[in-house]
Amino acid sequence: MEDKKKIGWFCSFVPEELIMAAGLEPVRLRGSVKRLTEADAYVFSNICPYLKNIFDSGLRNRLDHLDGIIFTNSCDGMRKLYDLWIRYIYTPFTFMLEVPKNRNEAGVRYFSQQLHALKKSLEEFYSVDITVRLQGAISTMNEHRIMLGRIFEQQKQSPPPLKGSELFALSDEEMTSPKGDTTGKLKGLFDARILVIGNRMDNPTLFNLVEDAKGSVVIFDTCNGLKHYSDHVDNGPDPIESLARRYLLKPTCQRMPGFDIRMERLEQLIQDYSIEGVIYSNLKYCDYSLFEMPQIERFLKMRGIPFLGLENDYLWTDLERIRIRVEAFIEMIEGGL
């Protein structure tokens, strides 16, 4: 079977359906280097370590297997990564997808136009007709959402069938491997039921730490967790608008206004999954995340939910210090403190 060309994407707002309908393989990007050697010559030390890792990977030709990359204006740093990329790194196809920040009808209309532009750009660059395969791609991705959604749903059970790290591995595989390769495992019985929120995590270190401490991450609601699989695309007569609607109006992350909405969701998840403690995993220097962390802590404190705010440098080099904090947190929950 012929290998499909791979298109990298960063942000949960990118509809993989358009890439798939172009006969291409969507791959969610993650940094691939353990130690930065090139990026520091271009970007400041206090820039998002995820972006730096990706940029370093690109500069060191570690992402040459990609035929294209779809960027988004997720944050100021991500927006500028695009500018740096097209200046210093060659990738045959690049596209900057503008994602509105307002979740309203005007935003949906504008995002629809952006998706039309992405569709046209892919069609022209790869000489393909996306329209004919788009509804099939939407069906496939809806199947994935249903399947992963069910797995997340099952996590409401006590004990949850899967460990957090297993759940993470599943979603990671779903986003980085050829579609259809996703498998499920049922496993896991731990005492403290933990919900992980925050921003991007590209490895299961935190999940392992929680499990080592005899806790269980029963759900993670980051942009590569449940949030990514929530809501379906209406596969109706106007698929582009349906895509815009689903991607823009799905549960929000910190880049969007609407703290209250996020807290409503958090409260619902805590109730639905019988959560005993919340860990907020924050990628260092991520402004959006840093701004909300104290608010979330206050919100949970008022409701008596134990909260642990953690910062990581993407590679989790400060592992032992974090381990001690996680162990103390789990002990605190189990001790009913």
Partner: protein, 404 residues
């Protein structure tokens, strides 16, 4: 407390203005006066970032624009290198020092109850995401909604429509706040004042090409940022006319400071007192242009005011591909015949700092050295006078070497 501070600053400025009218002092007076007024119960106060919002729309209504970023960072503590004394209040509440000092200061002022009550909280997506989050937090604290003016990074029929619709929505919100319908004649008048001030700013920028440079670069930058809230008001034009008069007088009297080298400065100047500008002056290095002082937008069309203002936002050089802005910076460097470029880096300005290598490399292609000068807008803990002077000294050597 903040109101009293602004009242004291106002009382300090006013007598001098009566004695000798000057553009920058008039700007400061008007800014302080509007900030004082924003606390009054009989006014409708609208939070906004003037440099990142087309304020012409606000001048069509009976509201007081309150530039929350400029207000907090104009406090004497921030300007005198003691900003952290206030910032620590937000830091103690968990707001990380990795967050921009501007925003930590705003949140601290909020927590200390120093800010006026807003009737509408406007913010925008461009320049930086930090101010939008800070605005959202302040609005939430007051139990109000924060309205985000979202400007995409591309100009197309759909983005123009998207931005235009948002401005119309904001106009409806202003109508609700003031209880009055938008008066189109007044809106057109604001557009005319904006166009008039745009023309006079172009004249100022032409005069800035004079050698030696006949004005003060810090004032030019502070006016561009803090004075942005006056676009659409006759005040802005009045300020410009006074500045033109001052510059023309200096040119004809030959009283401009001696000038050995000229540098282009971008993007911001520190609010806190630093050794930077005194060191530049001592070495006869002038700054004839700061990036934010230029005119980037087309003349506004009073017959299509919403669309015109949408375009003003979309044409902003901080919106869109960095390539566009880099070319514009290169053009500025050539137009103002500079010997080098200084990039002032405040730590949390991530989007801005990530563009630095693009500018550095483009300047190198036209033979200009670029200095990356790290400091902080208001947090004195991130600023070292010795390190700053060392960096500047090295840069002066480079300028000297380049000049042969």
């Amino acid at each position: 407390m903040m109101k009293t501070t602004f009242q004291e600053m106002l009382a300090f400025i006013e007598p001098g203005l009566v004695e000798k009218p000057r553009g920058f002092e008039l700007f400061t007076k008007e800014l302080m006066a509007s900030m004082v007024r924003s606390y009054d119960d009989d006014v409708k106060t609208v939070y906004v970032s003037g440099y990142a919002f087309p304020t012409e729309l606000l001048w069509a209504f009976d509201v007081i624009p309150f530039d929350f970023e400029i207000a907090c960072n104009n406090l004497p503590e921030a300007m005198s290198g003691r900003g952290s004394e206030i910032m620590v209040t937000s830091e103690n509440e968990g707001y990380s020092r990795d967050i921009c000092s501007f925003d930590r200061l705003i949140i601290a002022c909020m927590l200390k109850g120093m800010l006026p009550k807003g009737d509408l909280y406007l913010t925008s997506s461009y320049y930086c995401h930090g101010k939008a989050k800070a605005n959202e937090i302040v609005a939430d604290y007051e139990g109000k909604e924060s309205v985000l003016f979202d400007v995409p990074h591309e100009i197309s029929a759909s983005s123009i429509q998207y931005v235009t619709e948002q401005l119309k929505d904001i106009a409806s919100r202003l109508e609700a706040v003031t209880g009055k319908k938008l008066d189109m004649d007044r809106f057109k008048e604001a557009i005319r004042w904006s166009n008039s001030a745009r023309g006079s700013l172009q004249k100022i920028n032409e005069l800035m090409k004079e050698k030696p440079f006949p004005y003060n670069p810090i004032k030019a930058c502070l006016l561009a940022l803090g004075g942005a809230v006056f676009w659409g008001s006759p005040v802005r034009e009045e300020i410009h006319q006074l500045i033109i008069r001052e510059m023309e007088a200096r040119i004809s009297d030959g009283t401009a400071l001696p000038e050995r080298y000229r540098v282009l400065w971008y993007p911001w100047v520190p609010v806190q007192q630093t050794v930077i500008f005194s060191t530049l002056k001592a070495h006869e290095v002038s700054v004839p242009m700061v990036e934010v002082a230029r005119v980037w937008w087309s003349e506004l069309d009073e017959n299509a005011p919403f669309k015109s203002l949408a375009l003003k936002a979309l044409e902003n050089l901080h919106v869109g591909k960095a390539e566009k802005r880099v070319k514009a910076l290169v053009n500025l460097a050539e137009e103002y015949d500079v010997n080098g470029v200084i990039h002032f880096a405040t730590p949390a300005c991530h989007g801005e700092n990530m563009a630095f290598p693009l500018v550095r490399d483009a300047m190198e292609e036209i033979g200009l050295p670029t200095l990356n000068l790290e400091g902080d807008m208001t947090d004195e803990r991130n600023y070292s006078p010795d390190q700053t002077m060392n960096k500047l000294a090295s840069f002066f050597e480079v300028l000297k070497g380049a000049a042969g």
